[in-house]
């Protein structure tokens, strides 16, 4: 839903980032307002996951130039956990397996960290069980997965559902979902998409990173961006995704040659 007067939730300006001195993001600009759904597409290796991890604060990446405002704070100054507590959520392309740590307890600790930030009461084990059982319905996940170690031995689809379950519990303001649709069969894709649609609202925003139109058939984006060589090369409405589906990314190289990388 596009409302030009809606408050800006996330404003990325001229963002450059590198890993081991190797530049990966080369000047990303993106503004996201409340209520909007954005899709970022692009070939493998174009920097989509890097953008999502830099926003979430992954320590492997160094921001070398640019700024990111989240509501009225400088996001780049905050520790990853603080970013999460104030409502930024990253659904991982490759959710991490954590042996020996119970999924249920992990979800409870995470949920309470977010609740505390919002001034809500912490939930004890019993209250949390009620909440988690209700939210399991959003992703139609078997409660048995709560008893296992975080993501350990989960199939690709189960991991992605666990990501959306976390999103449903944390109730983020800005959710970045990195290829949450990859590796899902069509039923799982419907479940995940309906979960995202249920959680999207006029006060929150969603950034979907995806390769496929099939997700965008289920979640209609307000804006579509094409990323290449670490920046956003083109932006448009939902019709841009359909065009990409027809034409592919062959035009990208010619376009890149015409738009040299700005040096910060």
């Amino acid at each position: 839903m596009i409302r030009p007067d809606a408050p800006i939730l996330l404003e990325i300006q001229g963002l450059h980032a590198s890993v081991d001195e190797q530049p990966i993001l080369n000047g990303v600009n993106l503004t996201i307002r409340a209520g909007e759904i954005h899709a970022v597409m692009g070939r493998n290796g174009s920097g989509k996951s890097t953008l999502s991890k830099v926003l979430a604060g992954h320590p492997a990446y160094t921001v070398t130039a640019g700024s990111v405002r989240y509501q009225d704070v400088n996001l780049l100054e905050l520790e990853p956990e603080q970013r999460a507590r104030i409502g930024l959520f990253l659904g991982f392309q490759y959710p991490v397996e954590i042996p020996g740590v119970s999924n249920l307890e992990f979800l409870r600790v995470a949920t309470n960290a977010r609740r505390q930030e919002r001034g809500d009461d912490e939930l004890d084990t019993f209250a949390f069980e009620d909440l988690v059982r209700e939210r399991l319905n959003v992703v139609q996940m078997d409660p048995a997965f709560l008893e296992r170690s975080v993501n350990q031995g989960f199939s690709g689809g189960e991991k992605k559902r666990n990501e959306i379950l976390q999103m449903a519990l944390l109730e983020p303001l800005v959710a970045i979902l990195d290829e949450t649709d990859s590796g899902l069969d069509i039923d799982a894709l419907r479940i995940v998409a309906s979960g995202v649609n249920q959680l999207a609202g006029p006060h929150t925003a969603t950034l979907l990173i995806t390769h496929y139109q099939r997700l965008l058939d289920l979640i209609t984006p307000d804006f579509v961006h094409v990323m290449a060589a670490g920046r956003i090369l083109r932006s448009g409405g939902k019709e841009l995704a359909l065009e990409l589906e027809r034409t592919g990314y062959d035009w990208v190289d010619a376009e890149l040659a015409r738009q040299p990388v700005e040096v910060p």
């Binding site: 990853p80 954590i98 740590v101 600790v109 995470a110």
Partner: protein
């Protein structure tokens, strides 16, 4: 060295192991040399304990007949820890088990004693007997504990043995465990130690005719200048035996962790299935971990696997937790707890009252905002 070890040589009738010996290469005995040179009284671990049904004291004739047998079967006699303890000749705590016995706890508490505190334990499980035993070694002062535990497992018997060593930053722990397993018997050994200036643990098992099951889970945690050394040895003297061994270590500060795991599968031990895994976590740049499997496999129809990893806390795991609002320090503790719990959950139920996880990790291991009465972390009290 600050003190001298001459008096220990006198007791053992053998020189203190030099670091030129392969088995002692990485193990610094400075902490042992600092112990006050005298023998201290070892409190009777059975004082005030009502033996559960199925467990009784062995007669002195039985002790006389059986003492030393498991040591002999494991070729333990020439090991220095054994020579030292035998040189002192501590009173023997001899226990026999028949039928399905109730759980038992044996506490060897050196307390604040000064000097060397010796214990010797002999445990005999009759054919078909079963027992869950927790041995606790504790110290709260500048002393050295020496314990020899001999175990004879009759055919078809089952022993779940926990060994929990909760030390003091000036204390040393020298433990030698020798187990002889008859066919069809099962040993499930879980050990955990932390807080000792020096700890050396020598679990040795022989399956005298094969066809028995041995499971070993151990965890050693070292910090500051501490050194923990586990030298295990398992031998199959007949066909069809199994071993499932996991050794874990966490090394922080400038500490050192040593693991040497010997497995011997002679020609007679066809169809043995043995696996050994060593997993260590380095928490600091100054800590050292030395880990070595030592496999002697002569039989050809066997399945033996071994592996060893040394790693740091995984950045991706930490980041995943942080990205869900969990603070970095709490995320580390959560990962460490997961690492340790794989071993600790195998301890007998009685271990819970000692709160081993809380002692290892300090407060807040439940990750709740209000942990009830967190135990003081070891080595930091």
């Amino acid at each position: 060295m600050a003190g001298s070890t001459a008096w220990l040589e006198g007791l053992a009738g053998a020189p203190v192991p030099s670091r030129r010996l392969e088995d002692w290469r990485f193990t610094d005995l400075t902490a042992l040399a600092a112990i006050h040179p005298k023998l201290a009284m070892a409190p009777d671990p059975l004082a005030g304990v009502t033996l559960p049904a199925g467990v009784s004291r062995l007669s002195s004739e039985a002790v006389e007949a059986l003492l030393g047998r498991a040591l002999h079967a494991n070729h333990s006699e020439q090991h220095w820890l054994v020579q030292l303890n035998q040189g002192i000749q501590p009173a023997v705590v001899g226990l026999g088990v028949s039928g399905a016995a109730q759980p038992l706890e044996l506490i060897c508490d050196a307390g604040e004693a000064e000097g060397l505190v010796p214990w010797r334990i002999l445990l005999v499980l009759e054919e078909g007997a079963s027992l869950e035993l927790l041995q606790v070694q504790r110290s709260s002062g500048a002393n050295a504990t020496t314990v020899i535990t001999e175990v004879l497992l009759g055919a078809g018997s089952e022993l779940r043995l926990g060994s929990l060593g909760l030390g003091d930053r000036q204390a040393c722990l020298l433990t030698h465990l020798a187990v002889e397993q008859a066919p069809g018997s099962t040993l499930a050994l879980t050990s955990a130690s932390a807080g000792w200036a020096l700890s050396r643990f020598e679990p040795r098992v022989v399956q005298s005719h094969g066809a028995a099951h041995t499971q070993m889970r151990s965890l050693q945690w070292v910090d500051d200048q501490q050194c923990a050394d586990t030298h295990s040895a398992i031998r199959f003297d007949g066909p069809g035996g199994t071993l499932d061994q996991l050794h874990k270590a966490v090394a922080d500060g400038a500490a050192r962790s040593v693991f040497n795991g010997a497995i011997s599968v002679p020609r007679a031990a066809q169809q043995t299935e043995a696996s050994q895994l060593s997993r260590s976590l380095l928490l600091s740049d100054r800590a050292r971990i030395d880990t070595k499997p030592q496999l002697e496999i002569v039989a050809d129809d066997v399945r033996c696997a071994h592996g060893a990893t040394v790693s740091r806390l995984q950045q991706d795991e930490l980041f995943y937790l942080q990205s869900r609002g969990i603070a970095a320090a709490q995320a580390s503790r959560l990962l460490l707890r997961g690492f340790c719990d794989e071993v600790l959950r195998g301890l007998p139920a009685a271990a819970a009252t000692w709160r081993p996880l809380e002692r290892l990790l300090g407060a807040d291991t439940q990750l709740s905002p209000d942990p009830e009465q967190p135990a003081a972390p070891l080595g930091k009290v």
